[in-house]
């Protein structure tokens, strides 16, 4: 029987997102699937269906023992050893490292050490260098966390990593029958009470807090939103509260504003699925509950704020919407991000709610200036996102779609997608030319720098050529931050350069040369991709011209 271990040493949201991958592996292999996580996230991991065993590393205890001068360090080492020993002594057919950090990479290597197991994702080889199982592992670890226009959804990228298709059917979350009954009875009571007054209501759950302040929906926005919901007889708000003092106090503060007339539901992770299954819609910032609602097919309005790339782990449910400030103006970089309240208003969120219940309203409802509405859609490559309402943002949407196409073109040999080309050419036939020209110029300049780096590397010997080479290399790597099409190739290239073994200069020079030639191939593929798009646009324009002429002829003949 196939024995798979999935490692994820990140937080609740990432662990919950594994449910998609687990469901897909289960559908194809029918083997046993276990996960390794930090102990502090176990209550969320227990929600994952089809998991045979949850292994944990007790990081809290480790850090308590290690960081406090009272305790002997040897205890922290032994506890860690025992945690790892439990999972190390199992035989694994497949080890998948789904988190991009050094601890998980070392853990993967340890578990694959004895029987030379193949690891999907990142790991350290025996010369202590980071290795990537495929280019998708590089996209997962080095492109998705940095690149503004997430070229793939995180969940899809995990599937590409193990070359598995995403299985949509099948339950992915455990819910407790006892909590299901309680939640159904309580929420149904609200529905029945309201129906006595002749209203068939929609219950709207409001998640009040996230794990970081910059993602939270501001207090005044929530008040405005609740006020609007209360004024609509068919909407009924309930406050969703976690069992923490901080959330209770915040919930009380909001409730006090409405003379304590609001319904609050306090639930831990075990009870939360039952609550989400019984409401009609969830309004939430980008937090773990968003992923849970998605896995339960509960539609949601995600209010996206903060610096994390907003579509990297966006909703996969086409019935849900994401509300954002104009993305091309947002800063998706923690160091440059300046904390300020979002300009998304309660009215914007209220309109987004209406759009979820009536998708035809997306384009007709008015949102504040600079606020856009996004939905997910799906094609043969997986999920992609498109603007369906609010402020238009051609620059962003174009970059989003083309980045995705170029990423696949760089990784999959001979990849070409006529459907995509005609879609992008049709949608952006007037704005695309200028944008492509800018990208082409940047590609051309970067290619010159690349060729200079190759030339100086291959003619090494003089001090001058070494300086020229390092200058060119620095120039190339600085392009990683620019969020252009070439940045995707450069980020992948950087993952090679950053993980060279510094102890062997000759070996390094050879590896750098190989990476530079690989980068050159990627640039050629970007160039080819741009050309394909230009040809598709040309074709559409010619068609338009022919159709225009036909119409003129028809008009002439009629007149």
């Amino acid at each position: 029987m196939n024995n798979t271990l999935i490692i994820n040493l990140k937080r609740n949201g990432d662990i919950l997102s594994l449910a998609h991958l687990i469901n897909s592996i289960h559908a194809t292999s029918k083997g046993q699937i276990s996960i390794l996580i930090f102990e502090e996230f176990k209550s969320v991991a227990k929600l994952l269906k089809k998991v045979t065993k949850i292994y944990t590393i007790d990081r809290k205890s480790f850090l308590a023992l290690k960081k406090n001068a009272l305790f002997h360090d040897i205890f922290s080492l032994e506890n860690l050893f025992l945690d790892l020993e439990e999972v190390r002594t199992q035989r694994w057919n497949q080890i998948i490292n789904t988190s991009n950090d050094r601890v998980s990479s070392y853990v993967s290597s340890l578990l694959g050490y004895s029987d030379q197991k193949v690891i999907d994702g990142t790991y350290f080889d025996k010369s202590n260098c980071v290795s990537f199982s495929s280019k998708w592992a590089r996209v997962l670890n080095d492109v998705l966390p940095c690149y503004k226009y997430s070229p793939t959804n995180h969940v899809d990228c995990l599937h590409y990593l193990i070359e598995n298709l995403r299985e949509k059917e099948g339950q992915k979350i455990n819910s407790s029958p006892q909590h299901n009954t309680i939640a159904f009875e309580n929420i149904n009571r609200i529905r029945e009470n309201e129906s006595k007054m002749g209203n068939k209501i929609k219950i709207i759950g409001l998640q009040l807090k996230s794990s970081s302040l910059e993602k939270d929906i501001p207090f005044n926005t929530l008040i405005q939103l609740i006020d609007l919901i209360l004024n609509n007889p068919i909407y009924f708000p309930i406050l969703l509260i976690a069992p923490t003092n901080e959330e209770r106090e915040f919930g009380n503060k909001i409730n006090k504003y409405f003379d304590n007339a609001l319904v609050s539901v306090e639930s831990d992770f075990k009870a939360l699925p039952s609550v989400l299954l019984n409401i009609d819609l969830l309004v939430t910032p980008d937090t773990v509950i968003k992923h849970l609602a998605d896995l339960l097919d509960t539609p949601l309005v995600e209010v996206s704020t903060g610096w994390a790339p907003f579509l990297k782990q966006g909703t996969l449910n086409p019935n849900s919407v994401i509300l954002t400030e104009r993305p091309s103006k947002r800063i998706f970089n923690q160091s440059d991000y300046e904390d300020s309240d979002t300009s998304i208003t309660g009215n914007d969120i209220y309109n987004a709610i209406k759009c979820v219940f009536e998708p035809r309203l997306d384009e007709s409802l008015t949102f504040s200036s600079n606020i856009s509405l996004y939905r997910s859609n799906e094609d043969k490559l997986g999920v992609y996102y498109h603007r369906t309402g609010g402020q238009k943002d051609d620059e962003f949407n174009l970059a989003l779609l083309v980045s995705r196409y170029i990423t696949f073109k760089m990784i999959i040999p001979g990849y070409k997608d006529e459907d995509f080309l005609s879609k992008v050419a049709n949608e952006f036939k007037y704005s695309i030319k200028d944008w492509l020209n800018i990208e082409k110029n940047i590609l051309l300049d970067t290619a010159k720098t690349l060729l200079s780096a190759i030339r100086h590397l291959t003619t090494q010997g003089s001090e001058n050529s070494y300086e020229e080479f390092t200058y060119s290399l620095d120039q190339l790597l600085s392009g990683c931050e620019n969020n252009n099409l070439v940045s995707i190739a450069l980020l992948i290239f950087r993952s090679y350069i950053e993980n060279l073994n510094t102890s062997n200069a000759r070996d390094n020079a050879e590896k750098v040369e190989v990476s530079l030639y690989d980068l050159k191939k990627s640039f050629q593929k970007i160039s080819l991709g741009i050309r394909e798009i230009e040809e598709a646009v040309e074709k559409i324009r010619k068609n338009d011209l022919v159709m225009g002429r036909e119409k003129t002829s028809l008009l002439d003949s009629r007149l």
Partner: protein, 224 residues
């Protein structure tokens, strides 16, 4: 620091209300008038602390009147979900109050251990890792002030020759026999992770994991 507590005088008196009261080195460990009332007041004064914490480290057992009250209060506040650990340097007190403390629930008493012995005791360490609240029984604390102060100010010695014996796992014990004993664990890990690039065995990966995890800070608690 490692010497045990010295008793120069020890007697048991009877309070006005009929309870036994130990008097050690001339110090009455409980009220000579009404030890139970005194214990009730002591616990009432600390109710706020007990509301917030279900695990309590108590410094000083005496004859345990305050412990009995404490358990009563914790049961009320946290049902049966609480843990107590009591440190008492005077073994005689533990012996003489056995009748009383035999009925204590969810309680561990660590008596007459040196500070080094305490910080080598896994049960004690595992309890401390849960970050218990600290409750010092005033007269016991005054009686054994230097013992309890040393307990709170302790700094572990991490040299391998001083700590290797604490390892319980035979595989780890064997591995550590081969390393220079004059090094501290951190020095050993630094040597393994910074001065040597290639990996020679599984333990090297474990040292790297240890090293990387040590750099982390715990996450902000998530909401549910």
């Amino acid at each position: 620091m490692s010497t045990r507590f010295k008793i120069t005088s020890y007697e048991i008196k009877e309070s006005k209300t009929g309870e036994k009261v130990p008097v050690v080195n001339g110090i009455h460990l409980h009220s000579i008038y009404n030890p139970i009332k005194e214990a009730e007041n002591f616990i009432e004064e600390n109710k706020g602390l007990l509301k917030e914490n279900s695990n309590i480290l108590v410094l000083g057992l005496g004859f345990g009147y305050h412990i009995k009250e404490l358990i009563k209060q914790l049961k009320e506040l946290h049902n049966n979900q609480f843990e107590l650990c009591i440190i008492e340097p005077i073994h005689q007190l533990v012996n003489d109050s056995q009748e009383l403390y035999n009925s204590f629930e969810n309680t561990k008493i660590l008596a007459e251990l040196t500070i080094e012995e305490l910080y080598s005791d896994r049960t004690f360490i595992n309890f401390l890792v849960t970050k218990p609240a600290l409750l010092a029984h005033p007269s016991s604390f005054n009686l054994s002030k230097s013992y309890f102060t040393n307990l709170l100010k302790y700094k572990s010695d991490n040299k391998l020759d001083k700590t290797r014996y604490l390892l319980q796992n035979p595989i780890l014990k064997n591995i550590f026999n081969d390393y220079p004993q004059e090094l501290s664990l951190d020095e050993l890990v630094e040597n393994k992770c910074n001065n040597k690039r290639s990996i020679e065995g599984e333990i090297d990966y474990i040292f790297h994991i240890y090293n990387e995890l040590s750099k982390q800070v715990g996450p902000k608690e998530e909401l549910r």
